[in-house]
C-alpha cells in the first residue's frame, strides 16, 4: 500500500488516481499509523510552504515522516512536497522545512512570468545520475511544472536533473530512499505515469 499524505493541500486526487491507474493500492491519509505501515510514501502538495509545514506539524506527521524515511521506506516528494524536504524557504519570510536535504527554497527573481507554468524540459546531470525512477525517461523530456519558488541543494551530489527557466534550477533530486521532483508527474501524461510507475516498483 502506498500512502499519499493528506495535509490539507490540493491535488491529492490527481496523485491518488494516477497511482490507482497504475494498479497499486493507495491510501490517502493523515494517520501516522497508516503512514508507518506503508510500503512507499508520496508527499504531494500545491500551495504555500509555511502552510504546508504548519499543517504537517498540526497533524503530528513530521516525526513519522522522518522515522519512515530513516528506516528506508521509499519516499517521493512532488512540487511543494519536494520543496518541504529542504532546510528552509524564503516564502513568507524565513520558514524552516523538514531539513532532509540541505539547502534553501528561493523565489524566481528574474523578469519572467510567475508562476513558471507549463511543460518544460528535464535535463539529467549524467546518464548515471538518472537514478531508478527515471530509467525509461530520455534526456530533455517535457514535464508539467507549476511553481513560483525553486529549491537549491547545498550538496550537488543529490541533484539528478535540472531545468531552465531564466536560469537553471534543480528539478529532481535523490538521496538514498528519498526522491523529489519539482514537476507534477501526475499531470505529465504518459511520461509522468512512467516515473510514478518506476517509483512504485521500488516500494
Amino acid at each position: 500500500m502506498i500512502a499519499v499524505i493528506d495535509y490539507g493541500l490540493g491535488n491529492l486526487r490527481s496523485v491518488s488516481k494516477a497511482v490507482e491507474k497504475l494498479g497499486v493500492e493507495v491510501d490517502v491519509t493523515d494517520s501516522p499509523e497508516r503512514i508507518e505501515k506503508a510500503n512507499g510514501i508520496i508527499l504531494p502538495g500545491v500551495g504555500a510552504f509555511h502552510v504546508g509545514m504548519q499543517n504537517l506539524k498540526r497533524l503530528n506527521l513530521l516525526s513519522v515522516l522522518h522515522e519512515t524515511i530513516s528506516k528506508g521506506t521509499p519516499f517521493l516528494g512532488i512540487c511543494l512536497g519536494f520543496q518541504i524536504l529542504f532546510s528552509q524557504s524564503e516564502e513568507h519570510g524565513i520558514c524552516n522545512g523538514m531539513d532532509i536535504i540541505n539547502g534553501k527554497v528561493k523565489r524566481f527573481t528574474h523578469d519572467l512570468k510567475i508562476p513558471h507554468m507549463g511543460w518544460n524540459q528535464v535535463k539529467f546531470k549524467t546518464q548515471n545520475s538518472k537514478s531508478k525512477i527515471f530509467n525509461e525517461v530520455s534526456d530533455n523530456s517535457y514535464f508539467y511544472f507549476v511553481h513560483s519558488y525553486y529549491a537549491e541543494p547545498e550538496d550537488q551530489n543529490v541533484i539528478i536533473a535540472k531545468t531552465e527557466y531564466g536560469h537553471e534550477f534543480t528539478s529532481a533530486i535523490n538521496k538514498g530512499n528519498v526522491w523529489g521532483v519539482q514537476f507534477h508527474p501526475e499531470k505529465s501524461g504518459d511520461i509522468g505515469l512512467n516515473v510514478l510507475r518506476s517509483f512504485l516498483s521500488l516500494c
Binding site: 490540493g10 490527481s14 488516481k17 490507482e20 500551495g47 508562476p115 513560483s148 501524461g189
Partner: protein
C-alpha cells in the same frame, strides 16, 4: 525551454460534449472522457471544459464529468463557465480540476479572485477576459455574459488588476475574432502579454496552424486555446505542433 501550450477547448452541456467532434472514430463523440483521452494521446498540453449547462438543476453534472475525466486523463484540466463562488471552485478542484476559469463572477465580485487565489493558490485561478475592440484605435473593452454586455472596463487595466488580485493566468478571448477563423487578434494579445507578468492564453479566431504561429510569436502569447480547428479534424494537434516546431517555436512533441 518552456514550451508554448496548445489547449483544446470542449463545450460541455448537461454532461455531454456539444459541437460534435466528427472524426477520430469516436465510439461516443459526446462523451467528454473519451474526447479528453484522445486529445491527451494526441499530445494536447492541457484541456479546457467550458460548461454551458443552462439549467441550475443540472449544474452538478460537470462535477461528475470532471471526476471521471481525472481518473483517465493525466494532463492539466481547467473548467470554466458559471462559476460564481468559493464553494463552486472548491467542489471543482476537489473533483479533480486543476484550475478554474472565472469570468462574469470575477468582474461582478473582484473579491472572488482575491479570496480564491489566497485559499487555493494563484496557480489554479484563471481569469477569462472577453475583449472587444472599441474603435480603430488599439483599445479594447471588457464584455461579460458571453460577449453580450459591456461593463465599461478597459481590457489592459482589467488585466493588470486581475494579476494584482492574484490570478495565475489570463484566458484572453477576442470577441471580434471569435468564430471568424481569420486568426487571433494579435495586437490585443500582445498588448496584454506585454503588460502582465502572468501567462496569457490567446483565444478566438483560430482557423489554421499559421494563426497559432503568429499569436505565439508576434502576439507573445504563452499558450493558445482552440476549438473548431481541432474538433472537425481539419488539423490534428500533432500536425499543428510539427508545423510550429518547424518554425522554431518550442512545443512538446
Amino acid at each position: 525551454m518552456l514550451a508554448k501550450r496548445i489547449i483544446p477547448c470542449l463545450d460541455v452541456k448537461d454532461g455531454r460534449v456539444v459541437k460534435g467532434i466528427n472524426f477520430l472514430n469516436l465510439v461516443d463523440a459526446g462523451d467528454p472522457v473519451e474526447v479528453a483521452s484522445i486529445y491527451s494521446r494526441e499530445n494536447a498540453d492541457e484541456l479546457v471544459f467550458l460548461d454551458i449547462t443552462a439549467s441550475v438543476e443540472k449544474r452538478s453534472t460537470i462535477l461528475d464529468v470532471v471526476k471521471k475525466t481525472a481518473e483517465q486523463v493525466f494532463i492539466p484540466l481547467t473548467v470554466g463557465g458559471g462559476i460564481r463562488s468559493i464553494e463552486d471552485i472548491r467542489l471543482l478542484l476537489k473533483s479533480g480540476a486543476d484550475k478554474v476559469s472565472l469570468n462574469t463572477a470575477a468582474i461582478e465580485n473582484k473579491n472572488l479572485i482575491r479570496k480564491a487565489s489566497e485559499q487555493f493558490g494563484s496557480q489554479c485561478i484563471v481569469v477569462a477576459i472577453d475583449a472587444k475592440r472599441k474603435t480603430q484605435n488599439l483599445e479594447w473593452e471588457v464584455y461579460t455574459y458571453g460577449g453580450r454586455k459591456s461593463v465599461g472596463l478597459d481590457v489592459i487595466e482589467w488585466a493588470e488588476e486581475v494579476m494584482e488580485l492574484g490570478a495565475g493566468e489570463i484566458l484572453l478571448t477576442s470577441m471580434d475574432a471569435d468564430g471568424t477563423k481569420d486568426g487571433y487578434d494579435i495586437a490585443l494579445t500582445r498588448a496584454v502579454s506585454e503588460t502582465v507578468n502572468i501567462s496569457v492564453i490567446a483565444s478566438g479566431g483560430a482557423g489554421a496552424p499559421e494563426h497559432l504561429c503568429r499569436v505565439l510569436t508576434d502576439g507573445k502569447a504563452d499558450a493558445v486555446l482552440a476549438a473548431s480547428i481541432f474538433h472537425y479534424g481539419e488539423y490534428s494537434i500533432k500536425e499543428t505542433k510539427k508545423y510550429l516546431k518547424e518554425r522554431g517555436i518550442a512545443v512538446r512533441i
